[in-house]
């Protein structure tokens, strides 16, 4: 469970990232956060694992305060939260397996990881994670040899190898083509359902949000302006979230019926 209590974030230049956000996200939910660019989607997501600090309020993950955590407590909390980025953030020169294994470092001492001494179980866990996203056979290939969609699946596998209970995905499909977008979203959805991993995804495609989410949260200028089921999120609601009618580029538009 993730709770936001009156969370605000003001950037040093004075812009408000978040304004008095209060939210509770329950275990196993697949929450999609929507809003126009600059509405605070990334800020919201990144404050959950404190990749950026908040200015006021408190965020708790499974009852533990992220906001007040010491650096070692914070590392412990982060270990259980997987993160998926728009630009994949893999080490391109390293093999796929090594990238996935890097998700395990939080479980081991600095000394052991320094010499790459991962237990056998970790390697098996990582290979199994790659199997779940259907790229087991790429394990020993350099990451930059993979396509964008495959790289994003490697980063999902990294989160799985982490044995994360929560996955945060910051615009995971923004740099992918429509077909791979669906594959990656399907992977996220399947993992969410099969493993009951709480998943929070930032998206700007409205039709994708409706199709995959169990709950949609709409942000406008750092404020939560909508929080409901996909069925409740009508075109009218989206127009309000965006402050204008829906535009074509906000729809992925590839076969919602497939």
């Amino acid at each position: 469970m993730i709770t936001f209590e009156n969370v605000s974030k003001t950037y040093p230049n004075g812009t408000a990232g978040l304004r008095d956000v209060t939210l509770t996200i329950h275990e196993g939910e697949l929450v999609v956060i929507v809003g126009s660019s600059g509405a605070g989607k990334s800020t919201l997501l990144r404050s959950i694992n404190r990749l950026n600090d908040i200015s006021a309020g408190e965020i708790k993950v499974n009852g533990k305060s992220v906001t007040r955590a010491t650096s070692s407590e914070l590392r412990r909390i982060r270990r259980d939260i997987g993160m998926i980025f728009q630009s994949f953030n893999l080490v391109k020169r390293s093999t796929v397996l090594r990238n996935v294994l890097s998700g395990r470092v939080g479980y081991h001492s600095t000394f052991k990881t320094m010499f790459g001494l991962f237990p056998k179980g970790d390697v098996e866990l990582s290979l199994h994670a790659l199997e779940r996203v259907n790229i087991r056979e790429k394990a020993y290939i350099r990451s930059d040899q993979l396509s964008g969609g495959q790289q994003q699946r490697v980063s999902i596998a990294r989160a799985l190898a982490q044995e994360a209970r929560i996955i945060l995905a910051d615009e995971p499909v923004a740099s992918l083509d429509p077909l791979t977008t669906r594959q990656v979203m399907d992977d996220l959805k399947r993992i969410n359902q099969e493993m009951n991993i709480t998943t929070i995804i930032n998206l700007h495609f409205i039709d994708l949000a409706r199709e995959y989410a169990t709950r949609i949260i709409g942000l406008r200028a750092g404020e939560v302006v909508f929080d409901g089921t996909p069925a409740e999120a009508t075109d009218q609601v989206f127009a309000e979230i965006y402050g204008r009618p829906i535009q074509k580029d906000e729809l992925l538009g590839v076969g919602g019926v497939s």
Binding site: N49, L51, L74, R75, R76, I77, R78, R79, I81, G82, M83, F85, S87, F88, N89, L90, V91, K92, R93, S94, R98, S102, G103, V105, G106, T110, T113, M114, S155, R158, Q162
Partner: protein, 270 residues
């Protein structure tokens, strides 16, 4: 030209610009020539000396040929020592450079109280030429290869640390963010996020410095710091130019080989 000047004279500020520009250029050239002549007079380095010296250069070259091939077996040992000095100096300097490069890079060490003094030390080390290091260490540790090796340690450290920290600052920050997000500590972040990205650059700089060091090591002997330079100094002192020439030829061959080899490896790395 003059007509175009009068045409543009309506625009007040730019009207005189071409003329003043030309004066400035002329003044710069005059100043440059003046400095050159002044230096030449003060140091008594004149083209006249070149003309007078030319015949002597001819006779020197004549004495250098044919090279004393029989001297070759004697210089193999010191030549090998020269390369060994370079290997040791580069390796130790390179290893010392790694932690310092990490401490200098702003993206790894956000604390300026550490990174800025580190950079200052690095700059200081790099202003001191290798021969000066060697001369100082000869004075401290006595004549021999140890002083030369130590000089190259400092010299390599300065170059490799500087180039490596700049490479570290240019790496992709994405993987660092990802490693932070999985709960890695600072050292784990370096091992998994920084190292794989910076290592090829480090190795390339290491090899480049090794090339430079082989060249440097062959003259270190001039100040008594071991290696082939010692023999070159002696040969020149005894006017054995046939021996000097074989030393120079061998050094040239070795340096060319090492340069070529390391250039090939470096091209494959990056």
């Amino acid at each position: 030209m003059r007509s175009s000047l009068s045409q543009t004279s309506a625009h007040q500020p730019s009207s005189n610009a071409p003329l003043t520009d030309r004066y400035k250029r002329l003044a710069t050239w005059l100043l440059f020539i003046f400095v050159l002549i002044a230096c030449s007079i003060r140091t008594e380095v004149t083209p006249y000396q070149l003309v007078v010296g030319l015949p002597q250069m001819g006779s020197l070259l004549q004495e250098m040929f044919p090279p004393d091939w029989g001297y070759l077996p004697t210089i193999w040992g010191p030549m090998l020592e020269t390369i060994q000095i370079a290997i040791m100096g580069t390796t130790i300097g390179g290893i010392l450079a790694i932690p310092v490069a990490l401490l200098c890079a702003y993206n790894i060490m956000p604390n300026r109280w550490i990174s800025i003094p580190m950079r200052m030390i690095l700059n200081l080390v790099r202003t001191i030429p290798d021969l000066l290091f060697a001369a100082v260490f000869v004075a401290i540790f006595g004549i021999g290869p140890f002083a030369g090796m130590l000089a190259l340690v400092f010299f390599s450290f300065g170059i490799i640390a500087k180039l490596t920290f700049e490479a570290i600052e240019a790496i992709d920050p994405g993987p660092l963010e990802a490693m932070t997000a999985v709960g890695a500590n600072r050292i784990q972040l370096i091992i998994f996020g920084v190292m794989p990205q910076a290592l090829p650059y480090f190795v390339s700089y290491f090899l480049y410095t090794f090339e430079v060091n082989v060249r440097a090591a062959s003259v270190l002997g001039l100040v008594g710091a071991g290696g082939i330079g010692l023999l070159l100094d002696r040969a020149l002192g005894l006017f054995r130019y046939d021996r000097a020439s074989i030393i120079i030829l061998l050094t040239l061959a070795i340096v060319l080989m090492i340069d070529y080899g390391s250039a090939v490896i470096r091209r494959k790395l990056l």
